[in-house]
């Protein structure tokens, strides 16, 4: 069986449309974030979550009414986990006083309100209370980890390929992060620690397809000495298109299984992975290589003059191609 065999799409011709499309999504996401904010998980916003199990599942409205007197509109109530477990999650923004050790005061208030509301037997199966001081620390650490891992990947690809390839890969990854954040904002998923973990995993994963394509570009540069860089890149993307789609597909299958069956806690994580895998594939095909050509001054030279080390088993010992700054101007749409 084969998909996308012997395709000859001119991906580079679409690069400006693709970049515009990506910007549209990212800016729309930014717009949503600026107007409605990013919904923050409790780790970042602070607050109290109480998960209660009822003998008889009440309606969400009943639970809301029970909490109304103490918490008003601020309480978020939703069914939690499998319906057969009859669990309800209540989230309120308050926490007890940080000093005096009564951080759990708000949780106790929720428990008391539920118990006295005549909703039958209820027991608390889990609580989560996070003081306001914690979030800031995590945000900086998350951003730091993301930036450092991008720098790490940049350095590695620059070492193994060429600097322009590394720029392409990192811009593509950055693109994936922003698009993923945009979709998280569109679908109003809470930004939680798990989601941040998924975002970091996406940075690692989304470079994979890019590397596969770059590897083929490097290989083709030797075989297609008479063609322009644009043609070489287009050929490489087309040759690897099948595997790009299939590798994304298998990972997507795993992410979808997590989304459907992984339970409440992992839903945001799985959603992030799904978006990350899709945008990662898109950016490998449309963004990464386009950035390489743009970075090199929109003017790919004859490949022959700059054919760098070739893919395959000889790569490790191959000498680095000296970068040439002066290039005869030439249109990128070459194929």
């Amino acid at each position: 069986m084969h998909i996308f065999q012997n395709t000859h799409f001119d991906f580079l011709r679409w690069r400006w449309y693709a970049i515009a499309f990506s910007w549209a999504i990212i800016l729309a996401g930014l717009g949503v974030i600026l107007t409605k904010g990013i919904p923050l998980g409790i780790e970042f916003a602070g607050g109290t979550v109480v998960i209660s199990q009822f003998d008889q599942m009440p309606s969400i409205q009943q639970v809301r009414t029970a909490l109304d007197r103490s918490f008003g509109q601020a309480a978020v109530v939703q069914a939690y986990g499998d319906p057969s477990l009859r669990q309800v999650m209540v989230r309120v923004p308050e926490v007890g006083a940080e000093s005096g050790g009564s951080l759990s005061a708000a949780a106790e208030k929720v428990e008391a309100a539920l118990r006295s509301a005549n909703l039958g037997n209820v027991k608390t199966v889990g609580t989560e209370i996070v003081g306001p001081a914690v979030g800031k620390d995590l945000t900086t650490k998350g951003i730091q980890a993301t930036i450092l891992s991008l720098i790490g990947i940049l350095a590695y690809i620059a070492f193994r390929y060429q600097f322009s390839f590394a720029v392409g890969a990192v811009v593509a990854t950055l693109h994936d992060l922003l698009v993923t954040l945009a979709f998280l904002a569109f679908f109003r998923y809470d930004l939680t620690l798990n989601v941040i973990a998924a975002i970091l995993a996406v940075t690692g994963y989304s470079t994979n397809d890019t590397i596969v394509i770059f590897d083929r570009v490097r290989e083709n540069l030797r075989a297609m000495r008479r063609d322009s860089l644009g043609a070489v890149i287009n050929t490489a993307i087309n040759q690897t298109l099948g595997r790009t789609i299939i590798t994304a597909g298998t990972t997507l299958l795993a992410a979808i299984a997590l989304f459907l069956f992984g339970g409440e806690v992992l839903r945001g994580f799985a959603f992030t992975m799904i978006i990350g895998v899709i945008t990662g594939t898109y950016s490998s095909v449309f963004v990464a290589a386009a950035i390489v050509t743009i970075w090199r001054g929109k003017a790919p030279t004859r490949a022959a003059t700059r054919a760098p080390a070739v893919a395959g088993d000889t790569v490790a010992s191959a000498p680095q191609q000296p970068a040439r700054k002066s290039k005869p101007p030439r249109k990128a749409r070459a194929s």
Partner: protein, 532 residues
């Protein structure tokens, strides 16, 4: 042929070893099969989010430790000035790291400087107008004291948690400011007791009472102020059955002995048969205590716990080693107090930043959905690979099975903790793992299309993709490393699973998968086609 035989043997040995370490203990546990302990010792541990328990993040108020030190220094200076006959108008605390001496007489200035030499080791001295001196703790001393306070607090909490009898607790310093302590207590259900015991400062001090008890703080003042070297502490009055009201005592600021001089503490009963805590002093403490009680027979001794007078019995004779703390305690409070006193006082107070309790049922749900997601993911991937790559798909599936078994074995061997995000990492490893096979198979297809022979195509497929795979895996490992750096608890579980999964995948996709191809082709002389 010889070569192939060794490859197969290697693969089988790897499979057997990792199954024994990683998979067998889980199965044995589940079905209660008796197994030698050396095999069960190394097992994948369940994280708090799967097992249930309490997760606490505390902040050590390191300012407390600084304040205590600054206060101590100012008291020492006061004593030294008194013994040298230098009178100053006041010595006051300005902040936790600063105190000020006011009104040093002009003619005693040189003598004052002489007396203050000792304080100069840790404090920098600045002189102001009218004989005013400000002592500020040196920055390096502050840093050292803060670190020490956090370290001591962690050790104290460790001792208290040990006393609680929690199995496999985890207590660690965390946070960029270095003043947070993470406490994880798997399986603990009585959250409030655990919280109370961890947080209580547990500072026991025995102080000589100068005056009191009195009904109000004001009535103890002399000329409207607390005399130098004294302090006023609240306490509860009332004997057996009387309702307690708050009363005040004026006591010496410097304690005769404190919690550091304790050797042990245990629940006991007081003379009225009410719950009390009996304690024994260390040799050093007993000597000090004996001297103080001997000098103060007939006066009251305040037993002060965390700044509150519990009781103030009359000293009837010289006491050396043993004492008793009585008050209106319940049996449970006495139990807790014994634990707290035995484990020593905290150097600074603690506040809770974060508190999570995961009921065992919630953890079990998470395990169930994690297992369900794993099975669903596995089936989807198996179905896809078989449909798309036919018999070669089977090759990929066997390689995947190897991958997962090695992953579990590695996790068990290093004693990794399986968390819910860790399970997610496990599921993703399946998806990402077969990617390597896909890349190899696609390359083989390409080589076949170029009219190469089957064997040559397979060899070319593996050797050409090797460097690509190495690059993609290294890139993914880089981000997994930073993920590990970033995360705590559950996230680290994810990073660990991902990392180990990537490493084992490199082995299975290249070595196991290739061996399987060679094995399949070894019986046939002329291979015309490949099911791929």
């Amino acid at each position: 042929m010889q070569n192939l035989r060794w490859k197969v043997v290697t693969a089988v040995v790897v499979l057997v070893v990792f199954t024994a370490v990683g998979v067998y203990p889980i199965v044995a546990n589940r079905y209660g099969i008796t197994t030698p302990s050396w095999l069960m010792d190394r097992q994948i541990k369940l994280g708090l989010d799967l097992k249930g328990g309490v997760h606490l993040v505390l902040r050590v108020q390191t300012d407390d430790a600084l304040r205590t030190d600054t206060e101590g220094e100012s008291e020492r200076l006061r004593e030294s000035l008194r013994s040298k006959g230098i009178t100053v108008s006041a010595i006051n605390m300005v902040s936790p790291t600063e105190f000020r001496v006011e009104g040093v007489p002009q003619d005693k200035d040189a003598a004052f400087r002489e007396a203050a030499i000792e304080a100069d080791t840790n404090f920098s001295r600045a002189s102001g107008v009218g004989g005013t001196y400000t002592f500020t703790m040196k920055p390096n001393v502050q840093i050292a004291l803060r670190e020490e306070a956090v370290d001591q607090a962690r050790q104290t909490i460790e001792r208290r948690v040990d006393e609680l009898g929690v199995t496999e607790p985890s207590i660690a310093e965390q946070g960029s400011a270095g003043d947070q302590i993470l406490v994880q207590l798997p399986g603990v259900t009585d959250v409030n007791r655990a919280k109370e015991i961890i947080r209580s400062t547990g500072l026991l001090e025995l102080k000589i009472v100068e005056k009191g008890p009195a009904a109000s703080r004001e009535s103890l003042l002399e000329a409207g102020a607390v005399p130098q070297g004294m302090e006023i502490l609240p306490g509860t009055s009332g004997g057996l059955g009387e309702p307690g009201t708050t009363v005040y005592y004026m006591v010496k600021r410097v304690a005769a002995v404190n919690g550091n001089d304790l050797r042990s503490a245990r629940p006991s009963l007081d003379e009225n048969g009410r719950p009390a805590v009996a304690f024994t002093l260390s040799n050093d403490g007993a000597r000090k205590f004996g001297r103080v009680t001997g000098e103060n027979i007939g006066r009251q001794l305040a037993i002060v716990l965390d700044g509150r007078v519990q009781s103030a019995p009359e000293i009837q004779g010289r006491i050396t080693t043993d004492g008793r703390i009585s008050g209106s305690f319940t049996q449970e409070e006495v139990q807790n107090l014994s634990v707290i006193l035995r484990s020593g006082a905290l150097p600074a107070s603690l506040t809770y930043l974060e508190e999570r309790t995961i009921g065992p049922s919630l953890g079990a749900d998470s395990i169930r959905s994690g297992v369900l997601a794993s099975i669903a993911g596995l089936l989807l991937i198996i179905a896809f690979m078989l449909i798309y790559y036919k018999l070669s798909g089977l090759n990929a599936i066997i390689a995947l099975a190897f991958n997962l078994i090695i992953l579990l074995g590695l996790m068990a061997y290093i004693g990794a903790v399986m968390t819910l995000p860790g399970i997610a990492g496990f599921v993703l490893t399946m998806g990402i793992g077969v990617d390597s096979n896909v890349l190899i198979f696609e390359r083989i297809k390409e080589e076949l299309a170029a009219q190469r022979g089957v064997r040559a195509s397979i060899n070319a497929g593996f050797s050409r993709v090797f460097w690509t795979l190495l690059d993609t895996h290294v890139a993914a490992l880089i981000s997994a490393a930073f993920l590990f750096q970033f995360g705590t608890g559950p996230i680290r579980g994810f990073a660990v699973t991902l990392t180990l999964g990537l490493i084992s995948n490199l082995f299975t996709a290249i070595f196991v998968s290739k061996t399987l191809f060679e094995l399949a082709l070894s019986r046939r002389h002329q291979v015309a086609s490949l099911s791929i």
